[in-house]
C-alpha cells in the first residue's frame, strides 16, 4: 500500500481528447490542446487563490506579532502592517515578570513529552493485542470501546475533576493531572494503528513462532521494527494533542493561572482578559507555539499522511 503512494503522479481527471493513443506518450512529447491548457490555467488560478486564503491568516498573525507595543497599541487596529516593526511583544512574553507565558509553555511541553512516551506505549499495546492476538473477550473489548466512544469525552471530566481534586491533581497539580487524564484512557484510540498492524502479514509471526519465539519476542523483535511509521505517527499525534487542548486543560487548571497550558492561557488573553491590550502579545505567543510545532509536523508529514489515509480506509 505504501509503495503505491510513492508513485508521484497518477492522474485522475483526464482531458477530453478522444485520441487515446496519444495519451500513452510521455507528457512532454504531447501537444496540449487549447482546451486542456485552459483547464489547467483555471486550476492554477484556483490553487493560487486557495493558497492565499490558507496562508493569509498565518502571515497576518506574524505581521501583527511584530507591531511595536510601545509606539502603537497592543489592541486590534484597523491596519495590517505595523508602522514600526519591533520585538516588543516577544520581549515582554519572554522576559517580563508579569508574563506567565514561559511557564505555560513549559507546562505544555512537559505534558506533551510525557504523553508522547506513555500514550504511545498504551496505544501500541492495545492495537497490537487486538490486531494480532486471538483470545476470549477480544470482540467484547472492541465493542465496549466502541460504545464508550459514543459518550462525549467531557462527560467523564466532571467526575474526574473531583477525583483528581481528592488526589491534589487539580489547580496546583494540574500538570501531572493532565498527563494522567490524557494517558489513562488513550488506549481507546487504537483504531488507526490497529489498521496498520492488520496489514502486516500473519505469516511473519507464524514462522517466528515455529522457530520458538514467544509472543512477546515476536512483538519486540519482529513487529516493532516493521511498525516504525505507525510508531512515529502515534508519537506525533500524542505530542501535538496537548498543545491544542482547551476543554480538559481549562477545567483541570480552573482558576490557577500558573498551571494553565498555552491554549488556556492565550485564550484568556484573547477572550477573557482585556484582549484589546493583549492582542499583539497573543499573536507573538501564537507564533512561538506554532513555529516549532509546524516544523516538527512538516518534517514528519509523510508519517502523518500514511496514518490518516490508512485510518480512513479502514475506518
Amino acid at each position: 500500500m505504501s509503495e503505491k503512494k510513492q508513485i508521484p503522479e497518477v492522474d485522475i481527471v483526464v482531458d477530453q481528447e478522444a485520441g487515446v493513443i496519444r495519451e500513452v506518450k510521455p507528457e512532454h512529447l504531447r501537444s496540449k490542446s487549447g482546451h486542456e491548457r485552459r483547464v489547467n490555467t483555471s486550476v492554477y488560478v484556483i490553487l493560487v487563490l486557495m493558497s492565499v486564503i490558507w496562508l493569509a491568516p498565518f502571515v497576518f498573525l506574524v505581521f501583527q506579532s511584530f507591531r511595536s507595543y510601545a509606539t502603537e497599541s497592543g489592541a486590534m487596529v484597523a491596519y495590517l502592517l505595523p508602522k514600526q516593526w519591533s520585538l516588543d511583544n516577544y520581549r515582554w512574553l519572554l522576559t517580563d515578570p508579569s508574563s506567565k507565558f514561559l511557564r505555560w509553555y513549559g507546562n505544555t511541553l512537559i505534558v506533551a513529552a510525557f504523553c508522547a512516551v506513555l500514550q504511545t506505549f498504551m496505544v501500541l499495546s492495545v492495537s497490537y493485542t487486538l490486531s494480532r492476538l486471538r483470545f476470549r473477550g477480544r470482540k467484547l473489548i472492541m465493542n465496549v470501546v466502541l460504545v464508550l466512544g459514543m459518550f462525549p469525552g467531557f462527560l467523564t471530566m466532571i467526575t474526574l475533576y473531583f477525583l483528581l481534586k481528592q488526589l491534589g491533581l487539580t489547580q496546583q497539580g494540574a500538570v501531572p493531572g493532565m498527563i494522567l487524564i490524557y494517558v489513562a484512557s488513550s488506549g481507546m484510540g487504537y483504531y488507526i494503528s490497529k489498521g496498520f498492524f492488520d496489514t502486516i502479514p500473519k505469516s511473519l509471526d507464524e514462522s517466528a513462532r515455529i522457530d520458538g519465539a514467544t509472543r512477546a519476542q515476536v512483538f519486540r523483535m519482529i513487529i516493532m521494527p516493521l511498525a516504525k511509521p505507525i510508531v512515529i505517527y502515534t508519537i506525533l499525534m500524542a505530542f501535538m494533542a496537548p498543545w491544542g487542548d482547551y476543554v480538559f486543560a481549562s477545567y483541570i487548571a480552573f482558576g490557577s493561572e500558573p498551571n494553565y497550558n498555552v491554549a488556556v492561557g492565550l485564550y484568556q488573553w484573547v477572550n477573557v482578559a482585556d484582549y484589546q491590550g493583549f492582542f499583539t502579545r497573543f499573536c507573538a505567543g501564537g507564533v512561538l507555539v506554532a513555529v516549532p510545532i509546524t516544523i516538527l509536523f512538516l518534517a514528519l508529514q509523510k508519517y502523518y499522511v500514511e496514518g490518516v489515509t490508512g485510518g480512513a480506509v479502514k475506518g
Partner: protein
C-alpha cells in the same frame, strides 16, 4: 426484483427504492434486535444456572483443599504448590475484606453501599463558628458505584478461584503435572501475552472512563446542581425529573432550547462532514490533475492548517471576523460596506461563518485522505471509460465518487459523530454566541450540545442537566451509528486484511 431490473430503473426510482428498502428492513431489524436481546437474557440466565450447578458439583466431588478454597480463596492453589496463583487470590480476598469491612466504618465499602439508596441523610450544619460536616453525597455515590464494581470483581474472582481447583483436581487425577509459578509467569510472555499487554490500558479505561461514565449516568437521576453541592449540601435521587426538565416545553424547562441546539448540532455535523468531504475531494483531484506542477507545494501549503495548533489559528481567525477585526475594518476602509458585517452577532451569519471557516480547517484533512485513495483507483478503469467516450464529469460520477464512498464509508460515519462532539471549532470561534433571549440555560445560537454541556458544567455547575445532556448525546450518536451501519453494506471483514 433482480439486479438487472434494478439497474433499469431511473435515478429517482432507485433512490425511492433504496429509501423504501431501509424502512422496510427497519421493523425486521428491530425484531431481530429484540430477539437477540431476548436470546442474550436467556443465555445469561442459563450461564448463571450452569455456574451454580458447577459450584455444587465441585464442592461435592472436591477434596478438603477444594472445599476450604470456598472460604479462603487461593487455599487450594497454595496446597497444590501453585503459590503464585494462591498468593494473588488470597491478597485479593484480603484487600476486598479490608475495603468492605474497614474498622473505621465511615470509609468502608459497606457504609457507602448502605447509604447508596438515600445518598446521605446527615446534613452539614454550623455549630457556632465551626462547621460540622455530615454526609457527602458525592462520595457516597462515587464509592457506592466503586463498591458495586468491586463486589462484581470479587464474585468473578471467587468463581475463577473455585474453577481453578476443579481443573487442578482433574489434571492431577489424570496424571498431569500442574503449572508451576514459573510456568505461569512465562505464559504471561506467551500464551497469556494479551493479559500483560492489556492490563494497564484496561485499568486506565475502567477507572478513568467506565467508572466516570456510570457515575454520570447515575447523576442524571439526582438533583446534583449549584444549590445541592457537597460537602455543604446533600443531593438525592429524583428519578426522571431532569430528563423532563430538559425535554419538556414548560416555561421553566429547557425543551425549546434543547431542540434548537440539537437541530443546529445536526445541521452543523452534516455540513462539517459532507461539505468538507466533497470540497476536499475536489481539491485533491485538482492537485492530482495531470499537468499540474508543484503538487507537493500545494499540498504542504494546505497542510499548514493541520500543523498549527487549532487554538492559534481558530482564535486568530475568529478575531479577523470580529466587528473591529481586519476583514470588517478593511472592507469599510475601501468603502465596500458602511457598517461592520455581523459575522458573530447575527445567528445566521455566525452559523454560516463557522461552517465556512470549518471548510478552511477541514479541506486539508480530506485532501490528504482523498489523495491516498484516488491514487489507488486502477488507472485502466479511466482508460476504458475514456474509450467509451465518457467525459471528465461522467468519470467522476461513475468511477471516482462510488469508489471513494465505498472506501471511506466508515470514515464518514466517524467523522460525522466526531463533528457532533466538535468542541474546539465552535468554542474557539464563537463560544456558542450570539446569545439570545429565546434560548435558556446560557445557550447561544451556535452552541452544540457538547459546548452547551461544557457551559452548564463550568459556568453553572449544573451537573445533573449536563449528565442528562451527555446521555442524550450518546443516544443521538448511537442512533445515527445504528442507522448508518444498517444502510452501508458491511464492507468490514476484519480478517480479510490479514
Amino acid at each position: 426484483m433482480t439486479d438487472l431490473e434494478y439497474f433499469k430503473l431511473s435515478k429517482p426510482q432507485k433512490m425511492l427504492r433504496d429509501a423504501g428498502g431501509f424502512f422496510a428492513r427497519l421493523p425486521k431489524g428491530i425484531g431481530t434486535g429484540v430477539r437477540k436481546l431476548g436470546m442474550l437474557i436467556v443465555n445469561i440466565l442459563k450461564g448463571i444456572g450452569a455456574n451454580l450447578s458447577d459450584l455444587v458439583t465441585t464442592f461435592k466431588d472436591g477434596d478438603w483443599k477444594t472445599r476450604l478454597s470456598y472460604l479462603i480463596m487461593g487455599f487450594g492453589s497454595f496446597a497444590r504448590g501453585q503459590w503464585g496463583r494462591g498468593l494473588l487470590f488470597f491478597l485479593f480476598q484480603t484487600v476486598f475484606n479490608l475495603y468492605m469491612f474497614f474498622p473505621n466504618a465511615s470509609i468502608s465499602g459497606c457504609y457507602y453501599l448502605g447509604k447508596l439508596s438515600t445518598l446521605g441523610t446527615i446534613e452539614t450544619y454550623k455549630e457556632g463558628r465551626r462547621t460540622v460536616y455530615g454526609d457527602n453525597s458525592f462520595f457516597i455515590l462515587l464509592y457506592g458505584v466503586l463498591t458495586l464494581f468491586f463486589i462484581a470483581a470479587f464474585i468473578y474472582t471467587w468463581r475463577v478461584n473455585v474453577k481453578q481447583n476443579r481443573i487442578s483436581e482433574q489434571l492431577l487425577k489424570s496424571g498431569h503435572k500442574l503449572k508451576t509459578t514459573k510456568d505461569d509467569l512465562d505464559s504471561l510472555r506467551d500464551e497469556q501475552f494479551h493479559k500483560t499487554m492489556l492490563a494497564l490500558p484496561t485499568l486506565g479505561v475502567t477507572v478513568f472512563t467506565i467508572l466516570p461514565i456510570l457515575f454520570m449516568i447515575l447523576v442524571a437521576f439526582t438533583n446534583f446542581d449549584a444549590t445541592h453541592q457537597p460537602p455543604s449540601k446533600l443531593f438525592t435521587w429524583v428519578g426522571w425529573d431532569n430528563f423532563r426538565q430538559l425535554l419538556s416545553s414548560d416555561t421553566a424547562s429547557y425543551g425549546d432550547t434543547f431542540r434548537h441546539v440539537l437541530l443546529w448540532t445536526l445541521i452543523w455535523a452534516f455540513f462539517a462532514t459532507f461539505l468538507n468531504y466533497f470540497l476536499g475531494m475536489l481539491v485533491a483531484i485538482m492537485i492530482n490533475k495531470k499537468g499540474i506542477r508543484l503538487k507537493k507545494m500545494w499540498r504542504t501549503i494546505l497542510v499548514m492548517t493541520i500543523a498549527i495548533p487549532q487554538f492559534v489559528s481558530l482564535l486568530y481567525v475568529s478575531k479577523m471576523f470580529a466587528a473591529d477585526g481586519l476583514i470588517n475594518t478593511y472592507l469599510m476602509k475601501w468603502g465596500w460596506i458602511s457598517s461592520p458585517l455581523p459575522f458573530w452577532t447575527d445567528p445566521t451569519w455566525a452559523r454560516v461563518t463557522i461552517i465556512v471557516i470549518n471548510v478552511w480547517i477541514g479541506i486539508p484533512y480530506l485532501m490528504l485522505i482523498a489523495t491516498g485513495i484516488l491514487m489507488n483507483i486502477p488507472a485502466d478503469l479511466y482508460e476504458s471509460a475514456r474509450i467509451d467516450g465518457a467525459n471528465a464529469f461522467q468519470m467522476y460520477k461513475k468511477i471516482t465518487l462510488p469508489y471513494m464512498l465505498f472506501v471511506t464509508g466508515p470514515y464518514l460515519l466517524t467523522s460525522f459523530t466526531g463533528n457532533i462532539n466538535n468542541f474546539n471549532v465552535i468554542y474557539l470561534l464563537s463560544q456558542g454566541k450570539p446569545l439570545s433571549l429565546q434560548l435558556s440555560g446560557n445557550a447561544g445560537h451556535t452552541d452544540l450540545l457538547i459546548t452547551w454541556l461544557y457551559k452548564m458544567t463550568v459556568n453553572d455547575t449544573n451537573y445533573k442537566l449536563a449528565a442528562v445532556m451527555g446521555i442524550l448525546v450518546f443516544v443521538v450518536t448511537a442512533v445515527i451509528n445504528l442507522i448508518v451501519y444498517n444502510m452501508i453494506p458491511s464492507v468490514k471483514n476484519e480478517e480479510d486484511f490479514q
